[in-house]
C-alpha cells in the first residue's frame, strides 16, 4: 500500500490552483492606476503628470516645482495639480472602486443564481437607483445640493429594491427561480413608474438619461471615500463566502446537507451584493457589462473556485472599468464620453460571444 502522504502532495495543487494569478492581476491593475492619469480631457505632458503624482504622493517633498518646464495655464501650477490629482485620480479611483463592486457583485449573483448570465442589475437594483435619481430631479429636491442628494436617493432606491428581493428570499418561497422572477417583475414595474414620472418632467429626463448612461466625472475625494468605504466592507465580506458559493453550485439541497444554511447564506450574499452595487450605482449611474463579464474572465484564467473568482472578479472589474475610461479618452481625446456607453460597446460583443461559445468559455451552465 502506498504511503498516504505521497498522494496529497501530488494532488494538492489542484485544491489551490492559480492563487498567483490573483497577484498578477493586482499588479496589472496597479500599473494601470499609475499610468491612467496620463490620459484626460486636457492635454498635459506625461512627464509633468508623473512629476505631479510623485509630488502629491510624497507630500511635496519630491519635485518641489512639478510644473517646471511645462506650459502652465492661467491658474498656475496649482491648476494643473488640481486637474491631475483631484479630477483625474479621483475619477480613476472611482472607476477602480465601482468596477470592483460590479465585478464582485456579478460573480456573487452568478453563483447564487447558478446562472452565467446573471449580473448585478438582475434584481432591479438599477431601476430602483434610476427611480431614486428621477425623484430628486423631477421634484427638484434640494436644488444646489444635488451632488450629495442624487447619490443618496439613488442609493436608497437601489437598496430599497434589493430589500424587496431579500424579503422574498427570506420567505419559504425563496427559491432561486422566484427571486429571479421577482427581480424581473420589479424592474418592469419600476421602469413603468419612472416613465410616468418623466412624462410630467421632460426636462428631468435629460438628467436621468445622463445618469442611465453611467459616468465617472464630476466627483470629488469625499464621494470616492464613501464609495470606497462601503465597497471595501461589502466586498471583503463577500470574498469570505467563496466556499459557500462553491457548495451552492451543487444545488441548495446538497449544499444544505453539507452544512450550508442555504437560505441564510443566500440572503446575506444578496444583501452584500446589493449594498456594493447600490454604492457603485449611486455615484456613477448604470454601467453595464462589467459585472457580467468580469467573473467569466476570471473563471477562464483561474478556474471555477469561487474563493478565487470573487476577489478575482473585483480586480478584473476594476481593471475593465479603468481600461474603458482610458480607451475612451485615448480614442476621443478631449471629450468625456459617458463611461456606460463605452463598457456596453465593448461588453455587448462579449455577451454575444458568451451566448454562442459558452461551452468554450466556462463549464458553468452547460450541463
Amino acid at each position: 500500500m502506498r504511503a498516504p502522504t505521497d498522494v496529497p502532495r501530488r494532488v494538492a495543487e489542484s485544491a489551490a490552483r492559480h492563487p498567483w494569478t490573483l497577484g498578477l492581476l493586482l499588479v496589472i491593475l496597479a500599473v494601470g492606476v499609475f499610468f491612467s492619469p496620463l490620459l484626460g480631457t486636457v492635454s498635459i505632458a506625461p512627464a509633468t503628470v508623473l512629476r505631479i503624482l510623485f509630488h502629491q504622493v510624497s507630500g511635496g517633498a519630491l519635485f518641489a516645482d512639478p510644473c517646471a518646464g511645462a506650459s502652465v495655464p492661467a491658474s498656475g501650477c496649482a491648476g494643473l495639480i488640481e486637474i491631475v490629482w483631484d479630477a483625474r485620480l479621483s475619477e480613476i479611483m472611482l472607476a477602480v472602486v465601482v468596477g470592483a463592486a460590479l465585478g464582485i457583485s456579478g460573480g456573487t449573483l452568478q453563483g447564487v443564481f447558478r446562472n452565467p448570465l446573471a449580473d448585478p442589475f438582475l434584481l432591479g437594483i438599477s431601476s430602483g437607483g434610476t427611480l431614486g435619481t428621477a425623484v430628486v430631479v423631477v421634484f427638484r429636491i434640494g436644488v444646489g445640493e444635488q451632488n450629495l442628494l442624487l447619490p443618496l436617493f439613488a442609493f436608497v432606491g437601489a437598496i430599497g429594491t434589493g430589500a424587496v428581493i431579500l424579503v422574498a428570499a427570506r420567505s419559504r418561497f425563496g427559491s432561486v427561480e422566484t427571486l429571479l422572477l421577482t427581480g424581473v417583475a420589479l424592474s418592469s414595474f419600476l421602469s413603468a413608474v419612472l416613465s410616468l414620472l418623466l412624462l410630467y418632467s421632460p426636462a428631468g429626463s435629460l438628467q436621468v438619461d445622463f445618469w442611465l448612461l453611467g459616468n465617472l466625472g464630476a466627483l470629488d475625494w469625499t464621494q470616492d471615500g464613501i464609495a470606497f468605504g462601503v465597497v471595501l466592507v461589502a466586498g471583503t465580506l463577500l470574498a469570505t463566502y467563496g466556499r459557500e458559493l462553491n457548495l451552492l453550485q451543487l444545488g441548495p439541497d446538497v449544499a444544505q446537507s453539507l452544512g450550508v444554511d442555504t437560505r441564510k447564506v443566500r440572503v446575506r450574499l444578496l444583501l452584500l451584493a446589493s449594498v456594493a452595487t447600490a454604492a457603485a450605482v449611486a455615484f456613477t449611474g448604470i454601467i453595464g457589462f462589467v459585472g457580467l463579464v468580469s467573473p467569466h474572465v476570471v473563471r477562464r484564467i483561474a478556474g471555477n473556485d469561487y474563493r478565487l473568482v470573487l476577489p478575482g472578479a473585483a480586480v478584473v472589474g476594476a481593471g475593465f472599468l479603468l481600461a474603458a475610461r482610458d480607451l475612451s479618452l485615448a480614442a476621443f481625446p478631449g471629450t468625456l464620453l459617458p463611461i456606460g456607453i463605452f463598457t456596453s460597446f465593448a461588453g455587448a460583443p462579449f455577451f454575444a460571444y458568451l451566448l454562442f461559445r459558452r461551452r468554450g468559455l466556462s463549464t458553468m451552465g452547460t450541463t
Binding site: 498516504p4 502522504t5 498522494v7 496529497p8 494532488v11 494538492a12 489542484s14 485544491a15 447558478r114 469570505t240 466556499r243 462553491n246 457548495l247 453550485q249 451543487l250 444545488g251 439541497d253 446538497v254 444544505q256 446537507s257 453539507l258 452544512g259 450550508v260 444554511d261 442555504t262 471555477n304 473556485d305 466556462s362 463549464t363 458553468m364 451552465g365 450541463t367
Partner: protein, 436 residues
C-alpha cells in the same frame, strides 16, 4: 457529540402533508445504530419524503423526529450535517471541479468560518477516494468521470463528512448492474467498518434484500411491512403494495429471497355483465384435466394462469409450454401455505376462473377452498363432470365444496366449447351476487 441514545433515528407519528396529499401518515420508526436499512415502496409512497424530513429539507406537520437522541428541530444546519450525510439520486454539478476538491466539500461542516482545509482534511479525502476506488482519479474533473464514478465520489464526500449516519436516495438508479452491485457492496462494507448507520431508499427489492439488514416498506405514506428481508418479502406483499404478480424464490446459496416479477395484478375485478376482455383466465386442474382448457383458451387469445398444481403433473407441463404463470407444489405433498398464498394472488389477478373436471384428493382440496372467496367477484365456470367417473377422494368434502360453489353463483358449463362460449358471451357473466 451524538447524544446518548442507542437509536440513530427515531420517528414518532411523523406526518407530512403537501396540500391535500398526505405524503407520510403517522410513521413510527426506530433505527438502531449501525443498521443498514432499506426503504422500499412504490413511487410516491413517501420514501424520499421521509429522507428529506430527516435531512431537514422539510418540516413534518406533526410528530417528532430524533437524531441520535436529539430533536432535529433543535439542531442547526451544521450540527445536522455532522450527524447525517446524504447521497442523492443524482447530482448535476455545474463546474468541472477536481474529484479531490469535490470530496473536500464534505469537510465544510467541520471547518470554521474562515478556516481553510488542513493537510489532515486533504488526507481524509484521499483515504475516502481510495475506499471508493477513485484514488488515481483525484485530479480528474467531476464532469469528466462516468456516472458510476461520480456516484462513488459523492459517497466519498459523504464519508469525509464523518457523520454517523448516511442517507442514500436511490443511489444506484442511474448505474448499470455491475456498478449497482459494486456501489452497494462498498456501502455495506464501509458501514460495517465505520459502524455507520445507513438508510437507503431502494427501488430494486432484490438489491435491498441482498444488502440490507432490514427492509421497511412504505405504501401511501404508511409503514406496511418491516423486518429482515427473509420475512418481509413475499408474493402477497408484492401483489398488495406494488400490484405485481411475482415468483418468490430463494438464493440456494445464501437463502436470500429474490423476486421474479411477471405481470401486473388486474386493476379491478370486472363488473358483472361487462365485456371480459382477454385478461388472465385462471384454470384449476390436475391430472391432465386442465390441459385442453389451457390450450383452447390460449389459442383463443386469453392469457392463462394455472394451479395450484403438483410438479410433474402433465397439466403443469402444458401450462408452462404455454408460458402460463403457475402455482406449483412439490409432488404428492399437500398444498402448503406459501403455494396457497401464491394461488390466491393468481386468483386475485384473474378475470375469470375455469374449474376443470379434476380429481380431488386431500392434497389438492385447497384449490376448491380458495375459489369460494372469488364468487361474485369474477365469473367462476364449473365444467360438468362425466357421469360415472369417480373423482372425489376426500370422503365427500370435495362434492360438498362444489355444491357450495354452484349455490354461490358458479356457472356450470359443458366441455371446452361451453367454457369458451360462456367466457365470450356477455350473457356468460355470473349472476349478480345474491342480495344479502
Amino acid at each position: 457529540m451524538t447524544g446518548r441514545s442507542e437509536l440513530a433515528l427515531q420517528l414518532r407519528a411523523v406526518t407530512v402533508r403537501f396540500g391535500e396529499r398526505t405524503a407520510l401518515h403517522e410513521v413510527d420508526l426506530d433505527i438502531p445504530r449501525g443498521q443498514f436499512l432499506a426503504l422500499a415502496g412504490p413511487n410516491g409512497s413517501g420514501k424520499t419524503t421521509l429522507l428529506r424530513a430527516v435531512l431537514g429539507f422539510l418540516t413534518p406537520d406533526a410528530g417528532s423526529l430524533e437524531l441520535f437522541g436529539d430533536d432535529v428541530r433543535s439542531l442547526n444546519v451544521g450540527e445536522r450535517a455532522r450527524r447525517v450525510a446524504w447521497v442523492p439520486q443524482e447530482e448535476s454539478p455545474r463546474d468541472n471541479v477536481p474529484l479531490l476538491d469535490y470530496v473536500l466539500y464534505g469537510r465544510y461542516a467541520h471547518l470554521g468560518r474562515l478556516q481553510g482545509e488542513s493537510a489532515r482534511d486533504r488526507e481524509a479525502a484521499i483515504v475516502a477516494l481510495r475506499q471508493v476506488g477513485l484514488e488515481e482519479r483525484a485530479r480528474d474533473g467531476i464532469l469528466s468521470v462516468s456516472g458510476g464514478e461520480r456516484q462513488r465520489a459523492i459517497l466519498a464526500r459523504a464519508l469525509v463528512q464523518d457523520a454517523p449516519m448516511i442517507l442514500l436516495d436511490e443511489p444506484t438508479s442511474h448505474l448499470d448492474i455491475a456498478h449497482q452491485i459494486d456501489f452497494l457492496t462498498r456501502v455495506r462494507e464501509l458501514s460495517r467498518e465505520r459502524a455507520v448507520t445507513v438508510v437507503a431508499a431502494l427501488h430494486d427489492l432484490n438489491l435491498a434484500a441482498r444488502y440490507a439488514d432490514r427492509i421497511v416498506v412504505l405504501s401511501r405514506g404508511r409503514r406496511v411491512a418491516d423486518g429482515p428481508p427473509t420475512t418481509v418479502l413475499s408474493e402477497e406483499l408484492l401483489a398488495r403494495v406494488w400490484g405485481v404478480v411475482a415468483d418468490l424464490r430463494r438464493d440456494p446459496r445464501t437463502g436470500t429471497p429474490y423476486l421474479l416479477p411477471h405481470h401486473l395484478v388486474a386493476p379491478a375485478a370486472p363488473v358483472p355483465g361487462a365485456f371480459l376482455g382477454k385478461g388472465p383466465v385462471h384454470v384449476v386442474g390436475g391430472g391432465g384435466s386442465g390441459e385442453p382448457y389451457l390450450r383452447a383458451l390460449s389459442e383463443a387469445g386469453y392469457r392463462v394462469t394455472a394451479g395450484a398444481l403438483h410438479l410433474l403433473d402433465s397439466d403443469l407441463e402444458a401450462a408452462e409450454s404455454l408460458g402460463a404463470i403457475t402455482a406449483v407444489e412439490v409432488p404428492f405433498a399437500p398444498i402448503g401455505e406459501e403455494v396457497r398464498s401464491r394461488l390466491r394472488t393468481l386468483l386475485d389477478s384473474a378475470t375469470a376462473i375455469v374449474v376443470a373436471p379434476f380429481p380431488v384428493g386431500p392434497s389438492n382440496l385447497p384449490n376448491l377452498e380458495e375459489i369460494r372467496r372469488m364468487l361474485g367477484r369474477v365469473p367462476v365456470l364449473l365444467v360438468r363432470r362425466a357421469p360415472g367417473v369417480e373423482w372425489d377422494f376426500t370422503g365427500g368434502q370435495a362434492r360438498a365444496l362444489e355444491e357450495e360453489l354452484r349455490r354461490g353463483g358458479a356457472r356450470e358449463v359443458s366441455g371446452v366449447d361451453g367454457a369458451l362460449a360462456a367466457l365470450a358471451a356477455p350473457a356468460a357473466a355470473p349472476p349478480a351476487p345474491l342480495a344479502q
